[in-house]
């Protein structure tokens, strides 16, 4: 069968392995006492070279597997540095900085994500990162960043920290506006947003099964059921579109840019809507800092600032996307 959207055995294996690593190294509970994620365990797992050829120190998987692993990262609220490091390694290699790329893949250095804000750049959850990947709409900039200096602010009043540095470009290592690179960034950002959307759905369903009100689990009430169903629909849409976009990009299909733009447009919307519904299903507990669900909401806001959807109206719509493609690897 040339068309098959089941996970292959190999895909199942890498997903299971990633899930096991994340459960051990990045349990969601860690967010209760916030320290920026140490991404060494993710690097040791090979997360930052997943999609690179084996010759480049990568694991030789494709963008599809890489995206699926980032979905799991999103479920575990792994810091956005995981995206920035994976993308930074690609950018460094493309710009001829093979050594830096190798160090990033190997977990010897890390990249944090940055977004412009007026005259500043906001670095997110910087942790030990010595580099920053600044997502400037249709443009990337990989910069060296000095020792932590500037004001740390608390992103959205809780959890992840934000550090403000001047916008003026210093220590630039590489820059890119290459469409494929932008598309990969949008794919991986969206994958993490899907992870958020799925995680909050599952949290809500689990809570609705145990929380009792008026003598029954609240999951028995139709309003709660429908909130959960809405979360499921959103996550399913996004998940299906992620497969489409990842496959199209992997295979170099003509409709890759369109599929990614569609995905990236929906992802923040679905992740935020699901987080909102999940908080509502959780009631008072969901509004407290103790439940995990608000961290997902904030992560969704944060991820939504990264990458940028091409305007989908600028791209031709593929009305017959199934085509013959060359085998890639």
């Amino acid at each position: 069968m040339t068309c098959d959207l089941n996970l292959s055995g190999e895909q199942r294996q890498i997903i299971d392995a990633a899930a096991a690593m994340l459960r051990t190294e990045y349990p969601v509970d860690r967010r209760r006492r916030w320290v920026a994620d140490d991404l060494a365990a993710a690097a040791a797992f090979g997360m930052f070279g997943l999609g690179l050829p084996e010759g480049d120190g990568g694991a030789g998987f494709s963008l599809v597997e890489e995206a699926l692993v980032h979905v799991l990262s999103g479920r575990h609220l792994v810091s956005s540095g995981s995206l920035a490091t994976a993308l930074g390694a690609r950018l460094a290699r493309a710009a001829g900085h093979a050594e830096l790329a190798d160090r990033l893949v190997a977990g010897e250095a890390f990249v944090c994500a940055g977004v412009p804000a007026g005259d500043s750049v906001l670095l997110m959850e910087r942790g030990e990162a010595a580099f920053a990947l600044v997502f400037d709409n249709r443009d990337f900039e990989l910069r060296e960043v000095g020792a932590a200096l500037a004001s740390e602010e608390s992103a959205l009043g809780h959890g992840a920290s934000v550090e403000r540095i001047p916008r003026v470009s210093k220590g630039v290592i590489a820059r890119s506006a290459e469409p494929r690179m932008l598309a990969i960034a949008d794919l991986l950002v969206s994958a993490q947003l899907l992870g958020v959307a799925e995680a909050v759905r599952d949290l809500a369903v689990a809570y609705a099964q145990v929380r009792q009100q008026f003598g029954q689990p609240i999951g028995g009430f139709q309003a709660i059921k429908h909130h959960c169903a809405n979360m499921a629909i959103g996550a399913e849409m996004l998940s299906c579109q992620l497969d489409m976009a990842a496959i199209a990009l992997r295979d170099g299909r003509e409709d890759g840019a369109f599929q990614v733009a569609a995905l990236r447009r929906l992802a923040p919307h679905v992740a935020l809507a699901n987080a909102r519904l999940s908080i509502q299903v959780h009631g008072g507990v969901g509004f407290s800092a103790e439940a995990a669900v608000h961290h997902y909401l904030k992560q969704a806001h944060l991820l939504s600032r990264l990458g940028s959807a091409a305007d989908i109206l600028d791209l031709p719509a593929p009305l017959a996307p199934l085509v013959r493609v060359q085998e890639r690897n």
Binding site: H226, C228, E236, M237, C240, I312, L313, A320
Partner: protein, 376 residues
Amino acid sequence: MQLSLSPEDQTFRTTAREWLAANVPRRRAPNDGRPARDFALAWLARCNAGGWSGISWPDEFGGRGLSQERLIVWYEEYVRARAPSVLDCTFVALNHAGPTLIACGSDEQKGFHLPRILAGESIWCQGFSEPGSGSDLASLATTGRVEGDHLVVNGQKIWTSFADIADYQELLIRTEAGSKRHHGLSWVICDMKSAGITVRPIENMAGAVHFAEVFYDNVRIPLSEVVGDLHDGWRVAMNTLAFERKTAAIGLQLELSVKVEDLIDLAAPPRGSAIAERLATLRAEAAALRAMTYRTLLREPETPSDGSLVRLCFAELAQRVNRTAMDILGADALLENAWTHDYLESYSETIAGGTAEIQRNIIAERVLGLPRVKTQ
């Protein structure tokens, strides 16, 4: 995960595209009545002549037995070519009745009906819903009493699509006196010309007659017309519903992408405008619906109810698309035209075949595992 066509599949696409370009009728299908019947049967006969009838039916029953890939390719080309909507009066025959007969019918039943369906010679309608059981199929009350080698049917059906122009009906009735809920039902082929049948057409809000009430006054149906075993109709019916929800919806779902493209052309919205934003989101959602359609066909579902997600997603997206069209049309939204007609018809998407509320219950209970509550 692969979405790649073989060279043979590519050739298949070209063949399909060329055939459709040469054969798709230029005029829009009539909305209802005898003209709709004639149009649909003529189109199906033409498809059949070209080898495009019963595309998903197995070869052995006269179908084309297309693989999932080719089914998708066919529908991609079908909707691109703006071919007539698959949800016409041949829909029940091709997508409910035929597949049910294939799965559960006797050799005689299959031998008689399947060729007629494929050739565009018979229209079928569905007789499931009743006045008291719209969303609650298990509560149906139309009875069939066994008398010798006949069933004598009494009762009433409602929301029967195309009953006024149908030749046969797939009729679900209570044949075991005093049985409750899913038990004691039978699935019967009913000749719509039988004595004792009265059809009262129901005009819908779009001014079209698709639905009807059907009354049964001592209608005699030979026992040989029972499909599957007597009193085993629920199992037979569930078979049909599953089929409908998986395969037959492809055409409808993919059609929505085409409709969004037409809408973008119609609106030609300035970038950044509110309407451009809405259209951009609709375009993305239509893409995601397409992705869901593919996955429904090309991945093993995790639960048997997974298909309910794409079904509801389609229904509500179709309504959003049609509402947006009304906003774009301006004063033309007041006139009778293809857009306004489709807009009005789209209100049925979240009602017919299980309301959106019931669909959400199913998703919550069967996909997500939330508790079923008796009163709901």
